[in-house]
Structure formats: C-alpha cells, structure tokens
Subunit: 401 residues, 2 copies
C-alpha cells in the first residue's frame, strides 16, 4: 500500500516537522489547520470561501450530523461531501467527544455509549463498530476511532481504566474498518447493475475504501498513562495518531506535558493530530512538540463575538476605540475582510448585529489560522521555525487569558 | 443640464416603461429593484456578492445610519460608499418613514420632527433642511425629500393637512439642496489646500453636487389628495418622483388605486419610484401602472425565516417535505444557492440555524427579484410584457397572503 504521509523536512532545534498527507480527495500540507464544519457547514462561511482561503481539509462532527439531519438523509445525498458541496478532504470525528460534552443521560459500558441527544432527547447507542459505520456513511477522508475523552480533573484509577477501554475500542474500530472495506470491495463489483440510489449508496461506501483511520491516545494528565496509551494505540497500526483529552479545561502546562508524554512513542512516519486546540501560540508550541494537524472552533466562535486574531493578540472589535479606525483588522493581511473593510465599519456591523460583521471576522480569523500554518511550514523549511515561534509567542498578547 | 433619465421604450397595452437612469456612480436600468441596505449592509450579503448578483443600486436607510454609527462617523470615513465598500449607486431615504414607524415620542410640527431613537432613546430633530444635510453627508447618489408617511387607516382631514405639509417640506428640501450645492461648489476650489480629513469631508459633499433629489407623493387612500399631491410635488420639479405611503397595511386594491390616482400627473420623462413594496406579482402590477423603481425588504427578511421565492410562489424551506429534496430551490436559476446546493441541504442549514442557510436563501431571493426586473425589461422591449405579467401573476401562489 502506498504511504499516505511523507515527512518532507524537520526543524533543527525542535520536533517541528514539515509533511504532506495524501487522502482520497487531495493533499494536506502539514502542519495543517482544519476549520470546523460542525453541522455540515463551517459556521458563517461558504465552501467557495473556504476554497478561496486555501483550506485543504475541514472537519465534520459526527455526533451533530448523526442527530441532524441524521445518517439516512446524508446517505440519501451520497455522503457529506455532496450534501455540503465540499469536494476537498474531510476528517470526521468519532462523535465521542460531543456525546460526553453535550448529550444527556449517557451510559458508558464496555460495549459502547448509550445517550440521549441534546436536541430532541432521542436515545441512541454508539459502539466502536457503529462509530465506524456512521463515519463510513458520512464518507469522510479521515475517520477517527471511538474513544472516551477523560474529563479534567480526573482520578488516576478512572483515567487508567478508561484509557485501557479506549485501547480496546480502538482495536474494535480497526477490525470493523478492515472487515467493512473488504466486504464493500465485493459489493462494488455489482454496483453497475443496481438502481441509482443503491449505486449512490455504494459509491459513498466505496470512498471509504480510501478512508484513513486515526487512533486516539488518551491518558489524561498522567505521564505513564499517556505513554502506555501511545504504545498500545501505535501497536494497532493506524494511519495517523491523535492526542485526545487535551484542552478540556486543564492548565496549559498540563496540556503541553500530555503531548510531551505521548509524542516520543508515536512513529515519525505517521501524522499526529492534537485535537480541539488552541490559541495561535499554543498551535506553534504544539508544532514544536511534533504535532502536525489541528482543529479548533476559536477562529469561528470568537468571530461571532466580535473578536479578531492578529499577530499581536486578539482585538475585540466591539470596543469604542475602533469606531473611527480606518485601518483593516491587520495591515498586510490579504483576507477579504482586510482587503475591503475598515475596523470602524466592521465594528459598526458587530454593534448593529449585522451578519456581514461576523462573516468578515470569521474569514479573517480562518485566514489567520491557515496563514499561521503557512508561515510555520515555510519557517520549518528555512530552518528558522524555532526563532519564529519564540518571537511570535513573545509578541502575542491574548485578551482571553 | 444633462437629462438623468431616458425612456427607451414603452409597453403597448399597459403603462410599463423601459428606461435608464444615469447617476454619478453608474447607470440603473429600469424597471429596477433596489436591495435594502438598512444599516450600511444588505442583510447577510457582501458588496462583492451584490455585484455578482448584478445589483445596480442599493438603498441606505438614513434614520438607521443617523442613529448608528452616526453621521460624524460616516463623514469621517468619507461617506457611505467608502464606509461600506460599495462603489455603485446608493439611494438614501429621508429617514421620515423610520421616524414614524420606529422611534419613540415623536412630535411633528411644521418645522420638522422631534423624536427619540429606538436604540438609546437619544433625542434628535430632523427638519427638511437637516434631512438634506444628512443625506448630503451620507453622499448617496439619489436623495429623498422629507415627507410624513400617512398611516392607514387615516381620517380625510388629517391626510389632507399632512399632504399639504409634505408639499411645503418638499419645497424646503429642494431649496436647501440648491443652496448647499451652490455653496459647496465654492468651497471645493479650496479643497486642495486643506488637511486630508477636511478634504475628505469636502469630497464627500462634492459628490452631492451630482446627487439627484426625488420628491414624494402622499395623499393616503384618497384619490383627490393623491392627485393634488402629485401636481404640487411635480410643480417643484424634482429629478424623480416617489409614491409614498403605500404598502403600509392597506388592502392591495387601495395600494393600486393610490398609484393609479397619482401616476397620470407625473411627467413621463422622470423616473417613478413606488416605495417599500412588494411581492413579485405586486411589482409587475406596479410596472404595468407606470412605476420604474422599487425597494423591498421581503427578499432578505423572508430569507432569514427560511422562505424562498420561486416563479410559482414561495417555498418554506423549513418544511419536512424538503428534507430529502435534491433539487435546487428553483430549476434553471443561476444564483449561487441554486448552482451548488440542494433544498435538502438548505433545509438542514435553516433547521440547525446555520448562517449559511439564510445567506444562500438571501442570495437566491435577491437574484429572483433582480431577475424579475431583468425579465420585465426584456418583455417590455419585446412588446410582450402584459402577457408575461398576466401569466406570472396567475401562476404565482403566495403562502404569505
């Protein structure tokens, strides 16, 4: 089998890597940022705008899509790509994180998780096997194994038992995926004789033949559990490895330590994905610690609150000081907001709750995150990443902290 | 002075006209629809999208902009065009309509209107002269005289007195505009020696030298008052004539009669603007009655509620029937929503309150209104407008009525 990931270069004075991940629907240059398309839409942004921002991959939240519009509907439309009109790569999460953070009355057993969704309270059950089935139906280019995201803080014993169960779940995910791929391959030969809707359905499943599967390292804030988890998950041989259970409320040092504890046990020739984080400095710190992929709702969520990212920190554009400011959000930024609009005008839009305001800030913030990855890649290639990271982190002042 | 309006052709069997209005910032083909940019933004839509929809002119609401961000701010940015990054024509209303419909504690006297705005309750006073000053500062390409919009229903005596006052206010608007244009012309010669902010301010005023001014016909639902008002306003010689006080809650027949009562007294060589309406069939009926220009919030407002316009009536995309509908909102429509997205996906976005949903429906609805005017112009040119209107009106079923 062809390798899906290549390391093209490494930093001299940190673990930062410049890589390239090849998926069924396109190449992802790493370090990479993945805009979050929670419910089949990156909030406030159209697929065309995402392409213009040079987003190479987006994330879809399995839990949200499972609840609304439901799998049947997405299957009917031939998978998530066709449904939302995005033909680039998509990574789907397993749904586990949202089950634990959003749903009601969840009950975790060795078999899987029973829960009531947060919208209409309907009961559902997700096992490692169904998590794989659901993601196959969504048809993303990268699927994630089902894990239990350990809360913070957490007792050692619970964390240890949970981490071991996550490993057992990961094995079941891997096995389920191998089985389905094999059986789909047989089915696909008959595809041409079936009516259109059937063929569509099989085409959607077919694409999962090329679906990469990432395993997730857990272990909470415990160094030995992170190490054990990494070793056990790596033994199962996934296409990539995620660090889960980070950015769940723990102090930043704990988050860094969790990644540092697991990273040495991850193979160098596979992509590493630090899940659900973070601020711009955190992303650079994670890159320096050997991480390749990121997803985070901060650029879109803060935009809806009037907050814009810049090299020197966040700006709250609601503030009166911007009312007469003719400058763009950030000088030299080439995003659609900065090319055409002043801080003063965007402030007016935010204050009057005009949708264009959050649209413009969202575009700027996504561009900022994507461009930060661009710069990180270039600095790694030039061998100057570590200096870049130090300068950036020192100059960046966040209002959020 | 060069004529700003040309009638290029007329329908054979109705009063429909095909015309062309030339303003300082571009040509407007009539019949024309003007998307409403209430607070310096057509709700949900970017200026680039408006250009791609071939909108030739948009409307700005003086009252809203006066309240937020305030005139000082817009002057500071060099006028409304620069503030909102729209370089095509803008028509500004006088602010009167919103003062009467939104503000609190308004007191109308011969001198003008004192009111408290609906946002922070600050008191302000607008006279015919200040309405002209404010619109000069906004720098729109077409300004509107200050009028009192008569409510429905209304006693004859009040309507008669109000209509006469509107005529006196119209005269004062006209005089104030002539005076300011003359004095600005002198000031502009010194512009080059002034500091930038001063020059900006004068440049903004300079553009008002080319600002067209439209008078507004009132008269409520009374035929004789509509006639008297039209005659008196026309005598003042404006660049165009609006029919105001329509679509304020009266039955549709009353609305048609109000326009029919005034129209015969409007000069054929000036544009006629039917204010604040209406449904697609109403627009065609108004065109058949000699109207050239329209503005209406329906396409943007209904979009935010999930309602889309089609040739056969409105669709409420929240309805369950659309959940699996793979068709675009309307077959053969070339708007960005119909080119890329299914009814089923848009329904999902609306149900999950994703902003992209209202964005897509807004684009479709604006395109629908603009395209309806395109078709009306072509049908008038071909001499087939009346048949087109009858067929369209007969086929159109509105959920709103």
């Amino acid at each position: 089998m062809q390798k899906s990931f290549e390391v093209l270069g490494s930093a001299r004075d940190s673990k930062a890597r410049r890589g390239r991940l090849t998926t069924a629907r396109g190449i992802i240059d790493t370090p990479a940022f993945m805009p979050v398309g929670t419910q089949g839409s990156v909030k406030g942004v159209s697929p065309r705008e995402l392409r213009e921002l040079d987003a190479q991959i987006i994330l879809g939240n399995t839990y949200h899509l499972f609840v609304r519009p439901g799998l049947d509907v997405i299957k009917h439309f031939g998978g998530l790509h066709k449904f939302m009109n995005w033909n680039g790569p998509i990574l789907t999460d397993s749904g586990g994180y949202q089950i634990f953070s959003l749903s009601k009355l969840r009950k975790i057993t060795e078999e899987g998780v029973e829960f009531q969704n947060h919208i209409d309270g309907a009961r559902a059950f997700i096992s490692p096997e169904t998590a794989m089935e659901i993601q196959a139906a969504l048809g993303g280019d990268i699927a994630m194994a089902l894990d239990e995201c350990i809360p913070y803080p957490c007792e050692y014993d619970y964390a240890a038992q949970s981490t071991e169960m996550t490993t057992r779940w990961a094995r079941r995910c891997k096995e389920a995926n191998v089985q389905r791929s094999t059986s789909n391959f047989d089915k696909s030969r008959a595809g041409a004789q079936l009516p259109t809707s059937e063929t569509d359905s099989i085409n959607s499943q077919l694409s999962t033949l090329n679906q990469l599967l990432f395993g997730i390292v857990q272990g909470g804030t415990f160094e030995d559990l992170r190490k054990q988890s990494a070793q056990a998950i790596v033994e199962l041989d996934f296409d990539g490895y995620a660090i889960g259970g980070v950015s769940v409320g723990e102090p930043e040092e704990e988050m860094m330590r969790a990644v540092e504890s697991a990273e040495p046990f991850l193979p160098k020739d596979k992509p590493r994905y630090a899940m659900g984080l973070g601020t711009p400095p955190q992303l650079l710190e994670m890159i320096a610690r050997g991480m390749d992929m990121f997803d985070c709702v901060l650029p879109t969520r803060l935009a809806r609150n009037g907050t814009a990212f810049t090299d020197t920190g966040t700006l709250n554009l609601k503030n009166a000081e911007f009312a007469r400011d003719k400058r763009p959000i950030e000088e030299n930024c080439v995003c659609p907001a900065c090319r055409g609009f002043s801080r003063g005008y965007i402030r007016h839009l935010v204050k009057t709750e005009e949708i264009l305001g959050l649209r413009l800030i969202t575009l700027h913030n996504l561009r900022f995150y994507l461009e930060l990855m661009n710069r990180a890649r270039a600095e790694i290639e030039r061998g100057t990443f570590d200096q870049f990271r130090k300068t950036f982190v020192a100059d960046y002042k966040s209002e959020m902290q």
